[in-house]
Amino acid sequence: MKTRMAALFASDRPDLPALLDGLPVGVAVLDEECRVRFLNKTLESLTGFAREDVRGLPCRHVLRSRACVQGCPWARPEGEGGSLETDLINRHRRRIAVRLTPVLLRDADGRELARLDVIEDLTPIKEMEERLSQAAGPGQMVGRSQAMEKLLRLVPVIAQSDSPVLITGETGTGKDLLAEAVHRASPRSREPFVRFSCGPMPEELLEADLFGRRGSGGEGRPGRFQQAHNGTLYLSEIADLPVQQQARLVRCLDERAILPVGADKPVRVNVRLIASTNADPEALIRSGRLREDLFHRLAAFRLHLPPLRQRGEDVSFLLQHFLGVYAARFKKTIAGFSPKALRLLSAYAFPGNVRELKNIVEFAAMVCSGETILPAHLPAHLPGAHDAPEAAPRAARKTGRKAKG
């Protein structure tokens, strides 16, 4: 194969090295033993290695990616190709998030010519995601009320343990954010955080999605547990999980192993489990929707997120916080809320909790074209919002539309 492959780089052929060097993605050309034959310029710059220095080396010592060590893509059974997100550490000791796509190059007769590792640098995308997430606020639990401060003080303490956590709280109170906050503060923070909603879906599909599937030929599809290996698995709305699957979950927690659908041997998994429900767990047990043994295993730590109506000064704090977030995002100069708008918002019960408050502020910031949020900028469903507007939104006046109410 080496001879056939060498022909690819021969002088009477199209200038393949120049073609590969012109690509904006990194490419490593490997032989059948996964030894490096060529690195294009992009990959040289990404890894910090010169092609002549690494020719003939096992690729794991050149790419130095997590995937090379924890599951070489070339060791996967054929048909299980596709891209995977991983990271590499380059020669300058910098960790870089990358997408690795293994590509098998064949000749006209279908014989293997070369293996290509196509490497995309995900740093710009990750930085963008980071900026967006910071701008939008998810991942950050904010609150100044006594109840929230008490809860937030517990997060780093609980994060150090590996025991399961049960988060309760009404819809929109931030259960997902709290679960992520626990993961981020934990020693598992660099490992995956996998979310899984136990909402209604066919039971067989749910089982395969959660525990994975093993085919007759030994190939398989990893489930959420395997995806979260060494990290955290977050199961939201745990009471929606069928009782039979709840029993499997109990076994899994006891044995620290899962049995994929179609498999005859359990697979060991190292996963920290966080579950949440918006209902009262005791009531769920009484109604038979939540197994008591599962509850006791999950509730090693129990965190309850109070509804917004019990968070006192948090309403005005969150209003100002999200206004800052959305004003920046929409590139507007909005200083605050008018006294009447603030009174209306403070009197509102926010049945959808922080999520609803956030949506209201986003709407108001979008509609407002002045420097102050007025009642007329608030959504129409808010009681009293459009009864006696202090002034019509400027945007509505410009387009000739009348403000509602």
Binding site: D31, G56, P58, V69, R93, N270
Partner: protein, 114 residues
């Protein structure tokens, strides 16, 4: 004075990644470059933090590894542990070079093919 060196391992070669190594070899070298003692250590799970702790707990004066993140590199250097990183090769070859005093960061001891 004898010195202890920790080598992050993956099977019988230097681990390509320090933070993902689950094995380590602790060797004690005499002033004359003789290997006086070697101990294999298995880690419960791969962790750069744990490997740093292990090197410090065992009074290692040097660490040999493949890729290491800057954070761990500077931490070990701050703790006065020499780090020979970007080393690639079979462990026995690495040990020979180490005993001979010729091992350097970035050394590749695999036979080059083709």
């Amino acid at each position: 004075m004898d010195k202890k060196i920790l080598i992050a391992l993956r099977g019988d070669e230097v681990a390509p990644r320090f933070d993902l190594a689950t094995e380590a070899l602790m060797v004690t070298l005499t002033d004359q470059g003789e290997i006086m003692d070697r101990k294999s250590l298995l880690l419960a799970h791969a962790s750069g933090d744990d490997l740093c702790d292990l090197a410090l707990a065992r009074d290692a004066s040097g660490v040999v590894c493949g890729a290491v993140e800057e954070e761990y590199y500077h931490y070990l250097r701050w703790k006065r542990v020499d780090v020979l990183d970007s080393v690639a090769g079979p462990v026995e070859d690495v040990l020979r070079a180490l005993a001979g005093g010729t091992l350097r960061a970035g050394d590749v001891l695999f036979p080059r093919e083709g």
